[in-house]
C-alpha cells in the first residue's frame, strides 16, 4: 500500500543513530485495531514530529514508547532496550531517561510551581534543600517562570502551566523529551514561546524531541523530520517539503487541511434521498 513506499525510506537510514525504534507494531483496543504494522525511528538529537488526523493513535504511540501499554506484537526499542519486556522497576529506571510533557501540563494541583519542578528530585534523591533550589531555579529561569515559583497551578495560564511542566520534565535531565500536543489551545504568543523552548532544549542541551501534534504550521518550522500516521501505519515520512509534495491523498488532505478527501466530510450514512423519504 501507499504506506509501504513511505516507510521503507527511513528504515534504510535507521541504522545510523536512532534512540527510539518502533518495529512492526500491532496494537488494538477492544478489538479495534489502532496500529497494524507501524514502524518508525526517532533520530538522536533531532526534533521528530508525529502527525496525523484525530483518533489515529498518536497518543497511543507515546504510551507504547513510554511503556504504559504493551504492543500486541512487534517491538518498541528505547536505546536498544525492548520496552515491552521490562519489569515495572526496570521500566521506572528507563523512564528517568525520558521526560514527558502532557497536553494540559498535568501539574500536581496541591503543590506550587517550585515544588512541582522539585517533585522528581525530592522523590528520587536525598539532595539538600539548597542544592534542590540550585537545580530548580535555573530550570524555571530557562522557561521564564522563576518569578512564578510560588504560584499555585490554578493561578497559571495554559501556556504557563505547560512551561512549568517542561521545567519539571527537565528536572532530571532526560535524554528524550516527549511532547503530547504541546500547542493545543494556546494563543499565538504562548505558542511561540513553546516553539522556542522546544528548539532551545533540543539544540542547546542535545535532547532528542518527539512532538506529537496536528498543528501542521508549527511543526513545519520546528521539526527536522516528520511522520504522518494514518490507517494504523506510517502514511508518509520525511522533511516538511517532502511531505508537502507527497503523492498520497491522505497526506495531501492532512497537510493542506482539506475538508473532504480520504477522511470524509460525511459520517457514513444511508442514501440521503432514501433517508428523507423513509420518514
Amino acid at each position: 500500500m501507499l504506506s509501504n513506499a513511505a516507510s521503507r525510506k527511513p528504515q534504510a537510514e535507521a541504522a545510523q543513530d536512532s534512540i527510539v525504534e518502533v518495529r512492526d507494531v500491532h496494537y488494538s483496543i477492544g478489538g479495534r485495531p489502532i496500529f497494524s504494522g507501524l514502524s518508525l525511528q526517532i533520530q538522536r538529537g533531532r526534533i521528530t514530529a508525529v502527525m496525523g488526523p484525530s483518533g489515529t493513535g498518536k497518543t497511543t504511540l507515546l504510551r507504547l514508547i513510554t511503556g504504559q501499554i504493551r504492543p500486541d506484537s512487534g517491538q518498541v526499542l528505547f536505546d536498544g532496550i525492548d520496552v515491552s519486556t521490562l519489569s515495572t522497576s526496570e521500566l521506572y529506571k528507563l523512564r528517568l531517561r525520558m521526560g514527558m510533557l502532557f497536553q494540559n501540563g498535568a501539574l500536581l494541583t496541591d503543590e506550587d510551581v517550585f515544588e512541582n519542578v522539585a517533585f522528581p528530585l525530592r522523590e528520587h534523591t536525598d539532595l539538600p534543600e539548597a542544592l534542590i533550589r540550585n537545580i530548580v531555579l535555573p530550570k524555571l529561569q530557562a522557561v521564564g517562570l522563576r518569578g512564578a515559583a510560588r504560584l499555585m497551578p490554578s493561578e497559571l495560564s495554559g501556556g504557563m502551566a505547560r512551561r512549568v511542566a517542561l521545567a519539571r520534565a527537565m528536572a532530571t535531565d532526560p535524554e528524550v523529551l516527549i511532547y503530547d500536543e504541546p500547542f493545543t489551545g494556546l494563543d499565538p504568543i504562548s505558542m511561540g514561546m513553546i516553539v522556542r523552548l522546544v528548539r532551545q532544549m533540543n539544540y542547546a542541551l542535545g535532547i532528542t524531541s518527539i512532538v506529537v501534534s496536528h498543528d501542521v504550521e508549527e511543526l513545519a518550522i520546528l521539526a527536522d523530520a516528520s511522520y504522518i500516521i494514518a490507517g494504523g501505519k506510517v502514511a508518509a515520512s520525511g522533511s516538511f517539503v517532502e511531505l508537502k509534495d507527497h503523492e498520497s491523498e491522505i497526506v495531501h488532505q492532512f497537510i493542506n487541511g482539506l475538508a473532504d478527501g480520504p477522511v470524509a466530510f460525511h459520517y457514513p450514512a444511508p442514501d440521503y434521498y432514501d433517508d428523507l423519504l423513509a420518514g
Binding site: T66, Q68, Y92, R95, A106, L108, T109, P120, E123
Partner: protein, 255 residues
C-alpha cells in the same frame, strides 16, 4: 429468561468487582511499609481526612446523643427507670451509633474528598505524569491516603462517642433532671472495656472499608469530569451499604 440472564450478568459483575478491589487492596498493602517510611505524607492525610472531618463529626455526635437522650428518657420513664438512661445511652452510642454514624459521615466527608481528589488526579493526567517521572502513584498517592484514613477513622469514632455521651447527659441530666450520680455510676458499672473495644474495633474495620473504597473508586475513575462524579457517588453508596453489612456481621460475631 431475560431476567435471569441480567441477574447472572450482575452477579458476575459483582464478583469481578470484589476480585478487583481485593487485588487493589493487596497492592496497597504491599506499598504500606514504604508509605510509612514517609510519615509526613501520612500525617498530612490524617489531617485531611481526620481533622477536617472533626467539626461535622462533633456536631453530629452531639445531636445524635441529644436525640438519644430524648427518646431514651421517654422510653425509660414509662418503666420508671430513668437512671438507666446513662447505661442505655452509652451502650447505644459506644457499640452501635458511634462507629456506624461516624463511618457514614466519614464516607460522606472524607471518602468523597479522597475519591474526587484521586479521580481528578487521574482525569488531569497527574497520576500518569507521576508514573512517567518513575514515581509509583500507589506508593505516593494511594497508600498514604489509605493509611491516613484508617488512622483517622477510629479516632473520629472515639470522639463521636465521647461527644454523643455528653449529648445524652445534656438532655437527660440537665434538661430532664435525671439524677447525675446514678446516671454516671450506672454507666460506669455496666459499660465495660469490652463494650468500648467493640466500638473501637468497628471503627477500625469501617475505617479500612471506607478508605479502601474511596481510594479504589478514585484511582479507577474514568478519566473525565463525569467519571469523577460517578466515582464520588459510588464511594458514598458502596461505603454506606458495606458499613451496615459489616456492622451486622461484627455485631453478630462480638455479641
Amino acid at each position: 429468561m431475560h431476567f435471569l440472564r441480567e441477574l447472572w450478568d450482575n452477579v458476575q459483575e459483582f464478583i469481578v468487582k470484589v476480585g478487583a478491589v481485593t487485588l487493589f487492596f493487596g497492592r496497597v498493602l504491599m506499598q504500606l511499609p514504604r508509605a510509612l517510611l514517609r510519615p509526613s505524607l501520612v500525617i498530612e492525610q490524617v489531617h485531611n481526612t481526620g481533622a477536617l472531618s472533626l467539626v461535622i463529626i462533633m456536631t453530629c455526635g452531639l445531636f445524635v446523643g441529644m436525640v438519644l437522650g430524648l427518646t431514651g428518657y421517654d422510653l425509660l420513664q414509662r418503666f420508671g427507670s430513668e437512671e438507666a438512661l446513662g447505661t442505655a445511652g452509652a451502650l447505644a452510642v459506644v457499640k452501635e451509633l458511634g462507629p456506624v454514624v461516624t463511618a457514614l459521615l466519614f464516607a460522606g466527608r472524607a471518602g468523597t474528598a479522597l475519591a474526587s481528589e484521586i479521580g481528578l488526579m487521574r482525569a488531569t493526567d497527574q497520576l500518569t505524569a507521576m508514573e512517567m517521572m518513575a514515581v509509583d502513584p500507589m506508593r505516593r498517592v494511594v497508600a498514604p491516603r489509605f493509611v491516613g484514613g484508617i488512622i483517622a477513622m477510629p479516632l473520629l469514632t472515639v470522639i463521636f462517642i465521647a461527644i454523643g455521651i455528653f449529648g445524652v447527659q445534656l438532655v437527660g441530666v440537665q434538661q430532664f433532671k435525671v439524677d447525675a450520680a446514678s446516671f454516671w455510676s450506672q454507666m460506669r458499672s455496666s459499660v465495660g472495656l469490652d463494650d468500648v473495644m467493640e466500638g473501637v474495633i468497628k471503627g477500625c474495620v469501617f475505617g479500612v472499608a471506607c478508605s479502601l473504597i474511596a481510594v479504589y473508586e478514585g484511582y479507577n475513575a474514568t478519566p473525565t469530569a463525569e467519571g469523577v462524579g460517578r466515582a464520588t457517588t459510588r464511594t458514598v453508596v458502596i461505603s454506606a451499604v458495606l458499613t451496615l453489612i459489616l456492622d451486622y456481621l461484627l455485631t453478630a460475631i462480638m455479641l
